[in-house]
Structures are given as structure tokens and as C-alpha cells.
Point group: C2
Chain length 333, copies 2
């Protein structure tokens, strides 16, 4: 089969490799119908971290058809169409029992980093019963692919944590796909949502999809206060500081961005402001709810997809994904 293999800094190959087979009785094999790319690979690809092991097949987002199941798989059969969750989990370890699937001692965020991932014609998914969701053939590929990561990330970190009743206005910091997924999910609450980013074409797209206003983070003096600030950038970009400046009295900051070092928390001002800060990784525990929303046409996550490619264009698709003007790219095999 063909697969996208990580060969080190700035180097990936779409090349022939061995097809996966069932190893554990809880495994399933999925024939990939399509995949998408995650910003989680920016940094390893650029050589900025070593989270992806050399020669690994990349990818933790994919949709496909089950072609084999291990002996102890109960809920899935050959022929089932599934969306693969980016968090693999055993459901029986100490963390899984607390629904902290991301910390599963036998799984976690391993697809495409520690074990071969979804950017391939076939993928082996450990703990298949828990780590994918069955979907009907009527769900469009671009909608279904958003279930793997970006949609539950936004849903679990924002919708499941916030009571929108007392919120008047909202700021999203970060004009990438996570921020856009958040916007698509909160549109139903009819609040004023501003977006702060660096890419004018992306900010335009946010406005087109329901944002009140897009602001260039570098040019804005940031004197608006928001009841809810959703930080979707992470790392050393100063966005946690920005969030603290923007949050209103009684307000909430949610950090979805991944941080690799500590930040300054202005408790000397914020203890007095009655604020709440939520941090979180997704645990992909809401796929059934999200599938229902897609089927009911309550949300249209395919709006996140701004470019599509076929199986002969995988490397071009990867290049497009690295282009900062694009949200999500899908590849249909």
C-alpha cells in the first residue's frame, strides 16, 4: 500500500510500504477513504519537536471502511464505515475509567506519532471498539473527517465547559481551523464573536461564516473586553497574555492551544476579576453527539475544508496544508 512516511525535518515521502495486519485481538484494520492533516505536525515537520518517530506513517485523522477485526472486537464488523478518533484508548486503565482517554496508559495520542497513522491506504487501529465511531454512508467525507480531531477539540473544550447564558460577547484568538471549528459550534448561540489573527484572508472567511469582526492581532490595541476568550494558538505567541488582557470581569478564558513552556498569570489583577480559566486536551468522548449534530444538519463541519485533493496529489495536499491561508485540506483516496 501507499503511505505518507515521516523521514525527518522537512522530509516526507508518499511511498510503498507494508500493509498493516491485526496484532492484538482488540485491533481493527481500516481501509482509508480519505484523510486530513493536523497542525500537530507543523512542529515535528519543521524539526521543532520530536513527537513523531522517524519512519512513522503520519496522521491521526481518517475515515474508512473496516476490513478486518480482531477476535475480541464486539461493536464493529467488516464493511462498517468509521471515523477514526485521534485518541486511541483501552477503556479499562485508571485514566480511561476517569474518561481521561488522552492519558490512556495503553493508548492516548499515539496514531501517527508512536504507531503508524492514517495517512495511508490502510491503518491498524488498536482498541477499535473504543477508538472509532461508526457512521452512515450518507455523511459526506469532508464532514466525517472533521470528527477525528478538530471538531471534538472545539466541542469538548468550549461547548461542554461553558454556560452561554451569561455571555454577551466572545473573542477567538487564532484564525486557524480550531478557531473556525469553535465558531461553527458557537454560532447557534447568536453571540457577538470577534476573531483575532494574522491572516486577512482567513479573517475574511471567519466573517463570512458568522464572526462579527476579524481583527489583525498585530495591529489591534485590544481595548475590548470579552466575557469569553478562547485561545487557540499556544506556544510562545503571547496569546495567553493577550487573553488575560481581553477577559472581562466574571469572564472565562479557555486555552486550547498547546503550550511548551510556562506563562505569566496576572493573578495580582485577575484575583479581583472573578475569572475562570479552563485548560484541556480533547478526550474524544463526544463523537456520538457530534455525529447526531451532523446528521441533523445542525452543524456543517465541512466548511472547515477549503481545499481537496485526490490520491495522486498527496504531496501537493501536504504543501497546501502548510500554506497558512488554508484551513483544512482533505485527500480522497
Amino acid at each position: 500500500m501507499k503511505a505518507l512516511i515521516f523521514k525527518g525535518k522537512n522530509k516526507i515521502e508518499w511511498t510503498e510500504t507494508t500493509e498493516p495486519v491485526i496484532v492484538e485481538p482488540t485491533d481493527i484494520i481500516v481501509k482509508i477513504e480519505g484523510f486530513t492533516f493536523s497542525h500537530a505536525y507543523y512542529r515535528p515537520y519543521l524539526g521543532q519537536d520530536d513527537s513523531v518517530a522517524l519512519n512513522t506513517i503520519m496522521g491521526h485523522e481518517g475515515v474508512g471502511i473496516v476490513t478486518a477485526v480482531g477476535g475480541s472486537v464486539i461493536n464493529l464488523r467488516v464493511g462498517d464505515r468509521v471515523a477514526i478518533g485521534c485518541i486511541t484508548h483501552c477503556n479499562i486503565c485508571q485514566w480511561c475509567l476517569r474518561k481521561a482517554f488522552a492519558k490512556c496508559v495503553n493508548g492516548g495520542f499515539i496514531l501517527g506519532t508512536k504507531i503508524n497513522g492514517t495517512h495511508a491506504e490502510y491503518v491498524r487501529i488498536p482498541y477499535g471498539d473504543n477508538s472509532v465511531i461508526k457512521i452512515s454512508s450518507t455523511i459526506k467525507l469532508a464532514d466525517a473527517l472533521m470528527l477525528s480531531d478538530v471538531l471534538p477539540t472545539a466541542y469538548e473544550n468550549v461547548i461542554k465547559k461553558v454556560d452561554f447564558q451569561n455571555i454577551n460577547n466572545i473573542a477567538i484568538i487564532g484564525d486557524g481551523p480550531i478557531g473556525l471549528a469553535v465558531l461553527l459550534l458557537i454560532n447557534k448561540y447568536h453571540k457577538e464573536v470577534d476573531v483575532y489573527g494574522h491572516h486577512s484572508r482567513k479573517l475574511d472567511y471567519f466573517e463570512k461564516l458568522g464572526a462579527h469582526k476579524g481583527y489583525d492581532s498585530t495591529k489591534t490595541s485590544l481595548n475590548i473586553k470579552y466575557d469569553l476568550v478562547i485561545e487557540c494558538v499556544g506556544h510562545d505567541r503571547g496569546t495567553f497574555e493577550q487573553a488575560q488582557q481581553m477577559v472581562n470581569f466574571n469572564g472565562t478564558i479557555i486555552t486550547i492551544g498547546v503550550f511548551n513552556k510556562s506563562v505569566v498569570f496576572n493573578l495580582q489583577q485577575l484575583w479581583y476579576q472573578n475569572i475562570t480559566v479552563h485548560t484541556g486536551i480533547l478526550n474524544v468522548y463526544t463523537l456520538d453527539e457530534l455525529v447526531t449534530k451532523i446528521e441533523a444538519k445542525e452543524i456543517s463541519p465541512m466548511q472547515l475544508v477549503t481545499k481537496a485533493f485526490n490520491k495522486n496529489q498527496v504531496l501537493q495536499a501536504y504543501e497546501a496544508f502548510m500554506d497558512k491561508d488554508i484551513f483544512k485540506v482533505v485527500v480522497k483516496l
Copy 2:
């Protein structure tokens, strides 16, 4: 009348001064039956901050009888017994409309700091209708005095913010009156509550009143993880760092302590831990609920009071309050 007047660093006088009179139609005058002291005065008394204006009558905690009401006071009459809330508020400014009484542009935390306070035989309370609560004569003075500050501080920052259903164990950092008030309020949830402090006699008292175990913060290696960590110290004591080390996955940190500078927030670890941080000042919006709980004997806040004095012992009472082994001191006039 006699009053306790702040005369600068390490200097207070219990001395004769002018009785207050109605100034605004929303004012009331209260003849003080008793008062207590707040740790908010430690730092100004020690010359570490200038929050209390020179020659001000100190105090924001008191119980007494209304002796005069301004022309526009509706809910109170001469003769009513009241507990005075430490937050004075107008109920009509932009912040009061959001229930952020502590930020009231016409009031806030002004009693005993910006205007004369409760450590006197009489006190003028602005916005009397909003800033005190009527109580029956059957409530004991020591119970009633805890309504002014310590009890709503604990109630509003902890009980009103936390769902105890998913919490197994709790750490209170700080062995002072706020921590003890928290303990008294959370005892009803029957969780394992550990207390971290520096004073063995105080820690013993926590254990006597329901804590599972008191730990000396300086001697403990802190390897227990807690679902809820309630920080009640503030300032530069390293307690926010301690709270971050102690909080469990999916856990919550509440900071009640007052911080005068920023802290380091370990987002590089905590973004992954799915935690929540609440900061907050009390707004004293729960006095009716707390009075009901006292009347129903659901709580006994007088357990916070470990020493009592009479009107001839005000300076001794103040000395006792500065003694770190004592929780709350009351003075009955």
C-alpha cells in the same frame, strides 16, 4: 463615641471621636453590638500597603441595631438588627447590574479603608438597603459576625463555583479563618479534606472540625493529588505553585488568596491536565442563603471564633488577632 482609629504603621488607638450622621438619603447608622477583625488589615497595619487611609476607623465586619435611616431607605427601620456586609454597593451602577458588587463605582470594599468602618460604637453604612442583611435576635453574635466577610468569601468562591459530585478529595492550602470557613461549608459533602499550613495548633483545630489530615506545608513532599485545591493564602508564599503541583487531572484550583504580583502558570503541563482555575473576590450576594443555613443550624460559623473580648479589651483583642494561633476574635461592645 469610642472607635479604633488607624494611626499608621503598627499604631492604632481606641479613642473618643465624633458619632457618624446620615449624609446621603440612602445611608443608615448602625449602633455596633460587636465586631471582628479581618486579615485584610495585617498588611496595612504592618506598613506593607497603604490600603487603609490614615485616621480612618478600621473594620468592615460588624453586627448591630439600626438607629437612623436616610429618607430613601426602604427595607430597613430603626430598631432592626443587621449584619453588615463588607462590600458596600449601590445596586444601580454598571458593575452592580452585573452582580459585581465588589467593583461598585459608588462603593465596593470601602468600609474601614476609604470611609470609617465598623470598629466603633456607631457606623454609617452607605446604601443601607443593599449593604446589610436583617437578622433575627435569635442568631448568636459570633455566628452573625461571620456573615460580614469570611463566610460569604468561602461560600461564594467555593460552594457557588464547584460541583462536588465528581470530587473525591480536597486540599485546603492555608490554615487561617478563610480555610476554616471553607472546611465548615464543605463538611456536608463528606469528602476527604486535607489542610496544608504552618501552625500545628491550627491544623489540630481543622482536624477536630472535620478535616481528614493537617499537613505542615514546609515539611510535606506534596505527592498527593487532589480533585479540588483551594488556595487561601495569596501574596508571595508560593501557594499557587503548590496548588498546581497538587491538582489532579480534571481537577480545579480555586484561588481565594489576594495576590500582589503575577505568578508562574505551568501551562506546559496543565494544558494537558484538563484543569479549571477560578479566581475571585467576594461580592457578598449570598447573605440571605447563609442566614437561612445558620437559622437551620446547617452551619455553625461561630466555630471560627476562638477568642472573645468585651468593650474594655479592644486593644487586647487586636493583639490576640495578630497572634497567628487564633482564628477569629470577636469584641462585644
